[in-house]
């Protein structure tokens, strides 16, 4: 059932291209079995002065954003822009079709009016908002992607099952493979590994 160590399956050439190797380190990762332990450990690690932290979990863990310093999502601003764009597109379309391109008097009704434009304007606003939310969320998250160095962690497959991983990235100025691994063990993490990538 357990998948093999992802990076070891790759041919040498591909490993080179992806920048994999024992000398290239992505992060130190350790696992916890309960979400509360992850949050508590994350808070302590952050208090030690680490700034580039991440966590991986099978479901959103309450309080983790605050504990490891995840900035609040910017998605709302992108979405509101496209919502307004959706409404304007609909009104523009109805006006252009009714008044400019194909003016036709039906039942003595005006060529353009806000009252009968409401349903289509509403629906297009929703449609634009939905696409902005969907595409914007994946865009901000940098997904889809087929590969990420964290896949090399031997317990990675349990982050979508029942384990809660704490990540200290190598990009952190305070990062040192040995010391950081010790810090993770010190806050109660098990299976602590230096992950290449």
């Amino acid at each position: 059932m357990t998948p093999e160590h992802f990076s070891e399956q790759l041919p040498e050439q591909l490993r080179e291209q992806l920048g994999l190797g024992p000398d290239k380190v992505y992060a130190v990762i350790g696992e916890f079995s309960e979400p509360e332990d992850l949050v508590a450990a994350g808070r302590r690690i952050r208090q030690m002065g680490y700034t580039k932290l991440d966590a991986m979990s099978p479901f959103p863990v309450h309080g983790i954003d605050d504990a490891i310093g995840v900035p609040s999502s910017r998605l709302g601003w992108i979405v509101i822009f496209f919502s307004v764009l959706g409404a304007l597109t609909a009104l523009g379309l109805i006006y252009w079709v009714g008044v400019v391109s194909y003016p036709l008097v039906i039942g003595g009704k005006p060529l353009f009016d806000f009252s009968y434009s409401i349903p289509v304007t509403f629906e297009l606003t929703i449609l634009f908002t939905a696409f902005a939310t969907f595409l914007g969320m994946w865009g901000i998250n940098g997904l889809p992607r087929l590969y990420h160095p964290s896949f090399n962690y031997s317990q990675f497959h349990r982050a979508s099952d029942d384990r809660f991983l704490l990540v200290i990235e190598a990009a952190d100025p305070k990062f040192d493979p040995k010391a950081s691994a010790e810090h993770l063990r010190g806050v109660g993490a098990s299976s602590v590994e230096v992950v290449e990538g």
């Binding site: 059932m1 998948p3 079995s33 309960e34 979400p35 509360e36 991440d54 966590a55 991986m56 979990s57 099978p58 479901f59 959103p60 863990v61 309450h62 983790i64 954003d65 995840v70 609040s72 999502s73 998605l75 709302g76 979405v79 379309l93 109805i94 079709v97 009714g98 194909y102 036709l104 039906i106 039942g107 009704k109 009968y116 349903p119 289509v120 509403f122 629906e123 297009l124 929703i126 449609l127 908002t129 939905a130 939310t133 969907f134 969320m137 901000i140 998250n141 997904l143 889809p144 992607r145 087929l146 990420h148 896949f151 990675f156 497959h157 349990r158 982050a159 979508s160 099952d161 029942d162």
Partner: protein, 468 residues
């Protein structure tokens, strides 16, 4: 890892929604369905699937016949220009509404019990809207010209849509509804597809789930954006679902036909849609729960809560029938009065009283707790509700049309065999898609159920501390 346990006294009052010992057990249970080999899946599943697939072929045959012969093979003709096609369209669209209600509105109200059922209810929405779309699409007679419904410049006739017509509003509403429901559903699926990817053993499964899960790794930064996106999608789906059936009702309400031209239609249609949709979710879940042994995830509490919603919406529908009748009398308009008296006592009285029996009387049994918690009772009532709601649309559409203002243009609509087989065929398509979904994709929203389990565990810990 310890089980979700709590004080036995509290267990009676407030049993946990997720009755499972560990997160891993949940993963195993839900993934086992999709990971089972062909022979490990119960034979009854494959037998059921082959029957529904056969009925889907019937749909294909009927639609081919319709296209080759023209829409005259359906029974609608003057004065009843809209009949089973629109009845079935409104029926299927209404079914879809429960899925969005469960996934969006109950999410906004923080109703945690929704998590076990929202995935399948959302899937049901998608399939129901697909079935609904078939009817207006083929009622055009030339479905390959369907792009004329879209505001794209067409060179054939150089025509544009009339944005003053509710029919074009309907096109926008239904296509937006289908698209947004699909995006919402897929967004919810991604973390669970990642779970399947991480467990996949075969090469094909690894590649397929690897691509579908978009490289999801459960990062806290990703979850933060993901939760925001989920909240936004829920927040826009809520007014969307209310708008869809309101706009469907505008198709009727903006006309000047007695029996259709009423302002009560939008709320009355929405309540009816939720009513019928919950009944359909109930029918499907009782079957799926039994077929796939999901009693610990879809508990009696879930079913009882849904029955309460059926009772509420059914009562709203009953109240709407009474209001409609009262206003028809109170308006003093002889045509309006005639339309309603004709509904109840005219040639279609059998359809009207079937509707009243199924929609107004039968949900009232759910006032009794014992009946609300009885699987056979709720299964039968879910079926009668769907029959009743189909008849509601039939009564509204056909009885309002069959006696025009002049007695010379009176008629009596009878469906042809093509009408009947097409409608049966859409059930085949609906059930086939649902069965394929239940077998090949995670039917329970795994990441959400795990989240609820974590919260319940915390809550019960707190309760025990208070008890001490």
């Amino acid at each position: 890892m310890s089980a979700v346990t709590q004080n036995p006294a509290l267990m009676e009052v407030n049993p946990p929604l997720v009755q499972s010992d560990t997160y891993h057990d949940l993963t195993e249970q839900v993934s086992a369905i999709t990971e089972a080999g062909v022979l490990e899946t119960p034979m009854k599943y494959w037998i059921t699937l082959s029957i529904t697939a056969g009925i889907t072929l019937l749909l294909g045959a009927m639609l081919t016949y319709l296209v080759s012969r023209g829409i005259g093979v359906w029974g609608n003709n003057r004065p009843i220009g809209w009949a089973w096609d629109i009845t079935n369209f409104v029926f299927w669209i209404g079914i879809g509404h429960a899925g969005t209600l469960i996934s969006a509105i109950l999410f906004l109200f923080r109703q945690k019990w929704r998590t076990s059922i929202n995935r399948s209810a959302e899937a049901m929405t998608l399939f129901a809207v697909m079935c609904a779309g078939i009817f207006p699409l083929f009622h055009t007679g030339r479905p390959w010209r369907a792009y004329w419904l879209m505001p794209i410049p067409n060179l054939d006739l150089n025509l544009y849509q009339n944005f003053r017509s509710p029919l074009i509003w309907d096109v926008f509403a239904v296509s937006t509804y289908l698209t947004v429901s699909a995006l919402f559903w897929f967004t919810g699926l991604v973390p669970d597809l990642a779970t399947l990817r991480d467990r996949a053993t075969g090469r094909i499964k690894q590649v397929v789930f690897g691509i579908l899960s978009l490289g999801w790794r459960g990062s806290a930064r990703h979850w933060s954006n993901y939760e925001k996106a989920y909240l936004i999608l829920a927040a826009i789906s809520t007014p969307l679902v209310l708008s869809v059936h309101s706009i469907v009702s505008f198709d009727f309400a903006t006309s000047v036909i007695p029996g259709w031209h009423t302002t009560i239609f939008p709320p009355y249609f929405v309540a009816g849609a939720v009513f019928s949709g919950f009944a359909m979710v109930m029918t499907l879940l009782i079957i799926a729960r039994w077929l796939l042994n999901l009693e610990n995830l879809i508990t009696m509490k879930h079913l009882e809560n849904m029955n309460k919603i059926i009772l509420v919406t059914g009562s709203i529908v009953g109240y709407a029938y009474a209001t409609e009748f009262f206003i028809a009398w109170y308006s003093g308009n002889p045509y309006e009065r005639y339309a309603f008296i004709n509904r109840a006592f005219g040639p279609y009285a059998w359809a009207y009283w079937t509707m009243i029996t199924c929609n107004v009387i039968s949900p009232q049994f759910f006032w009794f707790k014992s009946l609300r918690r009885s699987i056979p009772v709720m299964f039968i009532l879910s079926i009668t509700t769907n029959i009743g709601m189909w008849f509601e649309r039939f009564v509204i559409i056909v009885t309002s049309l069959h006696r025009d203002f002049l007695p010379g243009s009176w008629g009596y609509y009878k469906p042809t065999w093509v009408d009947i087989c097409t409608f049966i065929g859409t059930f085949g398509l609906f059930l086939t898609l649902f069965l394929l979904f239940a077998r090949f994709l995670p039917m329970i929203a795994l990441s959400e159920v795990k989240g609820v389990r974590a919260q319940e565990k915390q809550m019960f810990k707190g309760q025990e501390l208070v008890a001490k």
